[in-house]
């Protein structure tokens, strides 16, 4: 059996997972996958966080990707990092850069067990701030400066690829190189606030081909395997090339709910809660949702297409939030089958509420220069 087939059937423990610590955020990015902004009063307490880490350590989860919202807004953030390091659970945290002072950067640089990922969505302030808000580019770059100065090599610069920034791929590469960082490009999904902007921001078919060619020539650019649907264009991109949700990865949200992945924060993809009896371990191993995701995939409408082996029908989140059936083509199917399905589709898109977004278009000003 190929390793990827084994992994599709799931493992006794995730290989890694995403853990959103808070829905609170000082920014209001237009495409936020978690519709973050306001903290949820039901957030896990510090001791509940530690209990989750204890479970992850017992399951030998190798590393967690900590995010949010903006995770550094939690007062116990650094305490949690220390706790993870003590427990030998590796951490990579995703941040908009707002709390990465020189002192914080030095702390991050001091241990192999902690990695940092700074998010930007444009190679210049104009392009970036149109998505992430005024001043957000400057904030991110200051954080990168501090990390580089602290001797942190190989931290991640992570970009969500959009119609507006696809022409800046070389610039992103230079920017990452300038700070001794690794570039990471990820796919825009119509998730969270992304649902509102997906139609105007997702790459065109021609841009997808451009992106694929660019990535194939640069296997050192990370992607989090988020473009495996593009593998139908030719030689597969590096990575597992399969949907890891509920099989080798999952998401724990700020109130302890467990979802298949960060791009499906919706009741239909909720597996349980770490607050239930048996904690995270019981959810991972026994939940109905994950058990069903671990059944072999059926190609469904994609059965007659020769590319199914390469693309596996694409991304579950992309299909779900555009109203497409899960056993059919991805909305961005490189052969255009998704577009055709969208035109023919009878299903409306699922209703997505405002989530934890800041109300009334309030944009929280960044008052402190660091």
């Amino acid at each position: 059996m190929r390793v990827t087939d084994r992994l599709a059937r799931g493992l006794d423990a995730p290989i890694c997972l995403t853990w959103e610590l808070t829905y609170g955020c000082n920014l209001a990015c237009v495409h936020c996958l978690s519709s973050s902004g306001r903290r949820d009063p039901r957030e896990l307490t510090t001791s509940e966080l530690f209990a989750v880490v204890d479970e992850l350590a017992a399951m030998q989860v190798f590393y967690v990707n900590i995010g949010g919202g903006e995770p550094t807004l939690r007062p116990d953030f650094w305490e949690l990092l220390d706790y993870c390091v003590e427990a030998k659970v590796g951490v990579k945290f995703s941040t908009n850069g707002s709390r990465i002072t020189p002192a914080a950067a030095a702390r991050v640089a001091s241990t192999d067990y902690v990695d940092a990922q700074i998010s930007i969505d444009g190679a210049d302030a104009a392009t970036n701030d149109a998505i992430r808000g005024d001043g957000s580019f400057a904030l991110a770059l200051a954080a990168m400066d501090h990390l580089a100065d602290a001797g942190m090599r190989g931290f991640k610069v992570s970009v969500v690829v959009t119609r507006e920034n696809l022409d800046q791929l070389d610039d992103f590469r230079s920017l990452a190189d300038r700070f001794g960082a690794q570039l990471r490009l990820t796919r825009l999904r119509p998730s969270g606030r992304g649902a509102d902007v997906w139609d105007r921001l997702h790459p065109t078919a021609e841009q997808q081909r451009q992106l694929y060619s660019w990535l194939i020539e640069r296997p050192d650019v990370l992607t989090g395997d988020s473009f495996f649907h593009l593998s139908a264009l030719g030689e597969p991109l590096p990575g597992l090339n399969l949907c890891g949700a509920g099989r080798v990865v999952c998401l724990i949200d700020p109130i302890g709910d467990v979802y298949a992945c960060p791009f499906v924060l919706h009741e239909q993809f909720k597996a349980g809660s770490v607050r239930d009896a048996g904690g995270f371990t019981a959810v991972w191993r026994g939940s109905e949702l994950f058990t069903s995701l671990r059944e072999p995939d059926s190609p469904g409408a994609c059965a007659s297409c020769g590319s199914y082996d390469a693309c596996r029908g694409g991304c579950m989140a992309a299909k779900f939030f555009t109203g497409l059936p899960l056993d059919g083509p991805d909305p961005e199917c490189v052969h255009g089958h998704g577009e055709a399905a969208l035109l023919a589709a009878a299903s409306p898109r699922p209703l997505v509420g405002a989530g934890h977004s800041h109300r009334g278009g309030v944009f929280v000003p960044l008052t402190k220069r660091i």
């Binding site: 390793v3 084994r6 493992l11 290989i15 030998q60 190798f62 590393y63 030998k88 590796g90 192999d112």
Partner: protein
Amino acid sequence: MTAYALHPQVGLRDEQFGALAYHYGNRRLTFLNDARLVTVVRSAADYDDVDAALDAAGVPVESRPAYATALARLAQAEVLVARD
């Protein structure tokens, strides 16, 4: 004589297909797809000659060059360290 030990920064996790090896320093993840290979990797430090480890793990003689190649690759990937 070739001898190895598991790299101190590597976490080894048993799986149905063999094991996962994760290096906390360089963040590389390696799939060990064979139970006997996993036994050899776990027990490598106990043997002064890897041939003895292969023998103890029940690796057939005709497969040993392939296993030796695999072990050398694991050393290159820093999953194993070579010992004097």
